[in-house]
């Protein structure tokens, strides 16, 4: 079984938002909404500063509270790669998942359903990378099978210092940031 995940190199990322723009055009994300975004984590006092820049989105958790809390069975784990998806037609727009998600990764689409990153599963299933990964001009984003020890993402994780986001929530997120 594949376990899809992302590895993002924060040392290369310049926070240009190309990933955000590509997601919008690839997935027709409506104006005013984004499925991914940039976080600037700045610490210290001028001029002794440290800043981590991260391209963030749904973490496609292995232990996804958004799926467990969904009263309609709309939020679910996809049969391939453990990707967390939403059946638009089943979703009532109750926002339980939005409250449950520690990453604030979901929003209610103007058409009434909960929406978020799909890891571009429609592209992935035809052998392509997600749109965000495919456009990144810094080549800081990597997508692949975390269960395959020989995949690019696994090799990066075994060779570089990294961290996921809000690990303590116990959600077992599948996006890892190289530092």
């Amino acid at each position: 079984m594949a376990r899809y995940g992302m590895v993002i190199d924060t040392t290369k990322c310049v926070g240009c938002m190309d990933c955000v723009v590509a997601c919008k055009t690839e997935n027709d994300v409506p104006q005013g909404y984004n499925r991914d975004w940039i976080a600037y984590d700045t610490n210290g006092q001028h001029p002794n500063l440290h800043m981590e820049i991260r391209s963030e989105r749904c973490n496609h958790c292995d232990n996804p509270p958004c799926v467990y809390c969904c009263p309609c069975g709309a939020s679910h784990i996809h049969e391939r790669g453990g990707v967390v998806l939403v059946y638009h037609d089943k979703c009532s727009g109750c926002k339980a998942c939005i409250a449950a998600c520690p990453y604030d990764a979901r929003f209610i689409h103007p058409e009434g359903y909960a929406d978020k990153c799909t890891f571009c599963i429609h592209r992935v299933e035809t052998g392509m990378d997600p749109a965000c990964v495919s456009v990144c001009p810094t080549y800081c984003m990597h997508f692949g099978d975390l269960d395959d020890p020989n995949s690019g993402v696994s090799r990066l994780l075994s060779s570089r210092r990294n961290h996921p986001l809000i690990d303590e929530a116990g959600t077992r997120p599948q996006i890892f940031y190289l530092t």
Partner: protein, 731 residues
């Protein structure tokens, strides 16, 4: 010039053979990446981008007849198939709800933005008639063309045929001009665009105020990330903790306006500790002894109170640069019109690179090459009877391009001769030139102001006639034959139709020429015939170019060690550490530092820069890009914020030293900037009523740039010489 003969020598004659061979392998990659497209009937059209001047190879996707998305063209050496966010959001230019739709003629006074829609014939007849009258009364030189970007090539052609030499763009005197003059005075050649910086091979990269990653010059950002990945040592000098600073091993939070003092001190350390490339200097340097004697005075201890950078940090970073030489790139920057000493500061950067031996070396500055695609064999232009109007008596002796602000000055004063008509193509002069009021006053002197653009910019608001151009995804444009690492030629072609009455520049320019009785300057019947003529002259296939978007030429030498002859087309034929031509013209032959003026108490120096999702002031009504960032913020250090009782996200107005008050702008309180300056992203605060979706969002730095310092060498207008304070009454 030596460099020209060398370049001619390097240009290839058998480009077609090499291009075909190079193209085949890469097309496979392009084909496989888009296999989904052909299966589902999605149409893909290669073209090149126009959201900025980098001109990346692009593939437009049309789904069910509607423009869907654009991606990079994998064949393109500039983008390598990956666009920047502006390029990726380029389809928003097509869908922009505010874009110009039909030709407009002014109904009321200039600047009142009251229009009547007219036909193309009416608009062009009116313009041609006015141009003929100006020609009769004042001569053809009395018309100036301001044109930015490759899209302007055809209107430039028409205006040269009309007989004016006064053709200009803000990219010289308001941007990269000082840099190109500084490097030209030193090495005999420009840095040019795309910059010949070998970032990907650099082991040490020094950025002085250059905010790579926020300015999204695609190739440079890609290579910067690649260099970081390979462990390059990054040194960033900036009053603001930029994105690039967050990648740096050494961040030097310099006092604004003192960069030249730091560069002189760096050179002092490198000379004093004999860390320079002795062999390189021995072979290629002119006047090194005089330079070395001059530089003795600029100790790190001298530079410390000027710059605020501690002497030990100056020494450590100078040694770091020397450690990796010649693969140390001291980046020349691009928008460098800052303080008025810009050419001399750029020359100091050139000299620092020369000490490190980086020019012509891997990891420094490569020698760009280009495809030999000849210009179209047009009839010769009429010879203007008068010199260009912008730089009378060579007041700025080292300007090698036309000075926009010089044309503005001549328009205002009527000296050395009157300027009565302005044509403005794709440049928003009110945001690009300093001191808006001077521009507006100059406009009042005109008999004709025509603006050709895709959006109703501020300058369009002052026009007599506004001509709507189709956006790049809807039009053919001139061939892109760039000087770059490898030779290539690229085509811009329509992906979709223009939605209203918009026309491409080539159509507008040609039609205007016909109306002026200059139709014989357009011997080709349509634009594709123009391409075929140029391409077939060197045996290149138009069909191949249309299909692939790009044809590559064979690899050629880029460095001295690959066989590029180390020639420097300066007066001495060497790298000029001491410049006799500067001394003869009454300037410092070796750069000198002058302390910058400070602002009034309670005011902060206003610095400005770029955001990665916008170009100039041209993208703010693009619905995709404005969704990424629809207003700018004023960056304020917490110390400054406390002093003025500013709160996070509060709206304030900025008042400059001349009492000009900005539009309201949100406060960003951040440790990422020094307390003695503030920072805004350029291009916001639109006042043009036609830009309904950008109107009034954020503040315009251009409006606050009432003061400017003119570079005495080349007429560049330095704009980081304005100071602002905060007005809080806004809630």
């Amino acid at each position: 010039m030596n460099s020209l003969s060398r370049r001619k020598f390097l240009k290839i004659t058998g480009a077609a053979v090499g291009a075909a061979a190079a193209g085949t392998t890469i097309l496979k990659a392009g084909g496989s990446a888009t296999s989904k497209g052909s299966a589902t009937g999605i149409r893909r059209v290669p073209t090149y981008c126009d959201i900025c001047f980098w001109k990346c190879g692009t593939i437009g996707y049309v789904r069910d007849g509607v423009l869907w998305k654009v991606e990079g063209n994998p064949l393109d050496p500039l983008s390598k198939g990956r666009l920047c966010p502006r390029g990726t959001g380029g389809i928003g230019a097509h869908f922009d709800p505010d874009r110009l739709r039909a030709p407009l003629m002014r109904k009321k006074n200039r600047g009142e933005e009251e229009w009547v829609e007219v036909t193309w014939d009416e608009a062009l007849n009116f313009i041609a008639d006015k141009l003929q009258r100006i020609k009769i009364a004042y001569g053809p030189e009395a018309v100036a063309l301001f044109s930015h970007g490759i899209g302007g090539n055809f209107i430039k052609h028409t205006m040269k045929a009309y007989g004016t030499p006064n053709i200009s763009a803000p990219s010289f005197a308001q941007c990269r001009g000082p840099r190109d003059v500084g490097f030209r005075l030193t090495f005999g050649e420009d840095v040019s665009s795309p910059e010949r910086t070998d970032i990907r091979n650099a082991q040490c990269i020094v950025l002085v105020g250059s905010h790579l990653g926020e300015n999204m010059h695609n190739t440079q950002v890609q290579e910067f990330a690649e260099a970081i990945g390979k462990g390059a040592s990054i040194i960033v000098v900036d009053p603001r903790f930029s994105i690039a600073a967050s990648k740096a091993k050494y961040y030097l939070p310099i006092k604004p306006g003192t960069d030249l003092a730091l560069i002189l001190a760096w050179m002092h350390v490198i000379v004093r500790e004999e860390l320079y490339d002795r062999d390189y200097i021995g072979k290629y340097a002119f006047g090194f002894e005089q330079f070395a004697a001059h530089i003795q005075q600029f100790t790190p201890e001298w530079a410390y109170p000027e710059t605020g950078i501690e002497p030990e940090i100056i020494r450590t970073t100078a040694r770091e640069m020397a450690r990796y030489r010649p693969a140390t790139l001291v980046h020349p920057g691009r928008h460098v019109t800052w303080y008025g000493d810009d050419t001399q500061r750029s020359r100091a950067l050139a000299l620092l690179n020369a000490l490190l031996g980086s020019w012509g070396r891997k990891g420094g500055f490569y020698y760009p090459v280009s495809m030999d695609v000849p210009a179209y064999p047009y009839p010769p232009y009429p010879k203007p009877k008068r010199e260009m109007v912008d730089n009378p008596n060579r007041k700025y002796p080292f300007a090698h391009e036309t000075i926009t602000t010089g044309i503005r000055e001549a328009t205002l004063t009527g000296q050395p001769y009157p300027v009565k008509g302005w044509l403005v193509y794709a440049t928003n002069l009110l945001h690009a030139l300093p001191n808006e009021q001077e521009t507006v006053k100059a406009i009042q002197k005109l008999d004709l102001l025509v603006v050709i653009d895709v959006v109703p910019s501020e300058i369009a608001g002052w026009a007599d006639v506004v001509l709507p151009e189709s956006v790049y995804l809807e039009r053919f444009d001139d061939l892109n034959v760039e000087w770059f690492r490898e030779p290539f030629v690229a085509i811009r072609q329509p992906v979709v139709d223009a939605p209203y009455e918009q026309k491409p520049n080539w159509w507008i320019a040609r039609k205007l020429a016909e109306n002026l009785g200059l139709g014989h300057f357009y011997p080709w019947s349509d634009i594709e015939e123009y391409f075929k003529t140029r391409l077939s002259a060197v045996g290149l296939s138009y069909e191949e170019l249309k299909t692939r978007g790009i044809i590559l030429g064979p690899k050629q030498p880029n460095y001295f060690h690959e066989g590029v002859p180390p020639q420097f087309p300066t007066p001495s034929g060497k790298i000029e550490f001491y410049s006799r031509q500067l001394a003869q013209a009454g300037f410092d032959p070796v750069p000198m530092y002058k302390r910058p003026a400070t602002g009034p108490p309670g005011y902060y120096r206003m610095l400005y820069g770029r955001a990665p999702v916008h170009s100039f002031s041209r993208t703010h009504s693009n619905p995709i890009l404005s969704d990424m960032m629809d207003e700018n913020e004023v960056w304020v250090n917490p110390v400054t914020a406390r002093r003025h009782a500013l709160k996070k996200d509060q709206y304030v107005r900025l008042r400059n030293q001349d009492g000009i008050v900005s539009n309201r702008i949100k406060v960003k309180i951040t440790e990422r900037i020094r307390p003695d300056c503030v920072y805004v992203v350029h291009g916001f605060g639109h006042t043009a009523r036609g830009l309904r979706h950008a109107f009034g969002k954020g503040a315009s730095d251009a409006q606050l740039i009432t003061q400017y310092a003119t570079d005495p060498l080349m007429g560049g207008t330095a704009m980081n010489v304005n100071f602002v304070t905060f007005e809080l009454q806004e809630t």
